[in-house]
Subunit: 295 residues, 2 copies
């Protein structure tokens, strides 16, 4: 009936991910027997078998699958609580804005200006991360608000869409396809994306989710690869505008859905600074839309 301890959850997650007590113990920096015992105790507490072990194999039970998912979420919540409390206790608290460099729809400077003009504003601090890491950073309390491209994993987050713009494909200027004025996804079949997989792998909605490791952490490296013709890349129009280069060509893709830039923040946020940032961003986005398409 008692709650498990955080330590036990870390242990379980490690074992569940490794499916190997020895490796998990090594990862946790401890010996294997106490780890085995800790997992056994956890199973006793919960009254549930979490793992099926033979001497040759460890597998998750159904309950184990459930707990793995929920334990990760719970651990995230705990570390987020700690990090946010630490941040809130700083003598000069800041508003930590998570984003991928250059993926801001060109709005960031104006948003920051508008935000800083707000009375409730704390000094902003940019938390740069790789693409797709922003939601995780928010859930783990490493940032207070973030700029993300939809769709993203919004568990535990609130959002506000800011800007929708077409997704373009970036090609080497020398690429035969660059001769055409517009393309469809089928034209790109077989082309490689920076992540490594093929362009028409069923997930053509722009840059991919985390996990699938990027070879390059920054966009300049990716665009360099594109220039050489070794990969193609999907980029929102505002990103494309920043990386105009002679050897690069951008072409619209007719059957690619638009890309939406959104603001996201933890669901239970009560910070006036976050509220001020959201207000500022929405205002800037609204005026920007007006100026682009005056009704």
């Amino acid at each position: 009936m008692n709650d498990p301890e955080v330590r036990q959850l870390w242990y379980f997650v490690a074992v569940a991910e490794e499916l190997h007590f020895g490796r998990a113990a090594a990862r946790l920096g401890m010996a294997q027997p106490p780890l085995s015992r800790a997992i056994r105790d956890l199973e006793r507490q919960l009254g549930v078998a979490l793992l099926e072990r033979t001497t040759r194999q460890v597998r998750l039970t159904a309950a184990g699958e459930v707990l793995l998912r929920d334990a990760r979420a719970a651990l995230e919540a705990v570390t987020a609580a700690a990090r946010r409390a630490r941040e809130a206790g700083r003598v000069s608290p800041r508003l930590r804005v998570a984003l991928k460099a250059d993926v801001d729809g060109g709005l960031l400077p104006q948003i920051l200006d508008a935000y800083c003009a707000d009375g409730a504003a704390l000094p902003p601090e940019l938390v740069l991360g790789r693409f797709g890491e922003q939601p995780q950073a928010l859930r783990e309390g490493r940032a207070d608000v973030g700029l993300v491209l939809c769709p993203f994993d919004d568990r535990g987050l609130d959002r506000e869409p800011l800007l929708t713009e077409p997704l373009l494909v970036a090609l080497a200027a020398a690429d035969p396809l660059a001769a055409r004025t517009e393309l469809c996804l089928a034209d790109l079949a077989g082309r490689k994306l920076p992540g490594g997989s093929a362009a028409s792998d069923g997930r053509p909605t722009g840059p991919r989710r985390p996990g699938a490791g990027w070879p390059a952490s920054n966009l300049s490296e990716i665009f360099s690869l594109v220039e050489t013709g070794s990969v193609v890349f999907f980029a929102p129009a505002s990103v494309a505008r920043r990386y105009r280069r002679p050897a690069l060509a951008y072409r619209p893709v007719t059957d690619l859905p638009d890309s939406t830039l959104a603001l996201a923040w933890p669901e239970d946020t009560s910070s006036p600074a976050v509220a001020a940032f959201v207000r500022a961003a929405c205002t800037v986005a609204a005026t920007r839309v007006e100026s682009v398409m005056p009704s």
Copy 2:
């Protein structure tokens, strides 16, 4: 840098709620000195002052406020993980459906029928709770899916609206206002609600949130109070249909927004049974809407 332990978070929440080390210790079933030490250790770990203590008073710091909020969420996540794992480990797992008795828009029997016909269905088990407790039950892992009235606290939950219907006011038949065919909120000014507050207290969107303790746990008791004329009550039309009594009158309230019944479930759910229930409920709701308003 280390994560706090669940135990420390419980301790902190207790102290933060009581604002008194002695009482908090009593609530936790322990002596006061180790509690003081545990809180001090937590503050050391986080590098942040959470409480301002004098010998006469304990107050939360800003960081303490933040941690109180986040620690509650984290503890919820931990207990939810434990409960869901226990449930998933049962020999005969069930689908636990949280609802307030009678608040189902009259759809429940058909939803259950349609759900049980699905191949992915587990035997359903109704988890009855007081009004507004359903979201909390879902977050704490006491139920897998729930029927709730909007608006509700949907942190950590996904939702699907099922049915929108007008909210009626229930009056004693002898009430002078019952002579009129329709009312507006201003007419009800000064009337008491079962919760105790006045009818026009700025939250006229139907039955209230948890917290404000209900005097009666079931609707029959509430409607008995209404019959005596001591209170008025806002009820969705489908609830009103179940409690037609001679001494009761239902009247539309012109400026009251409609009430929406929705299905809610934890955001990270992957259970096929929940998916089947959602499908079934949506199908039933759709056909019901058609039959009520054939387009």
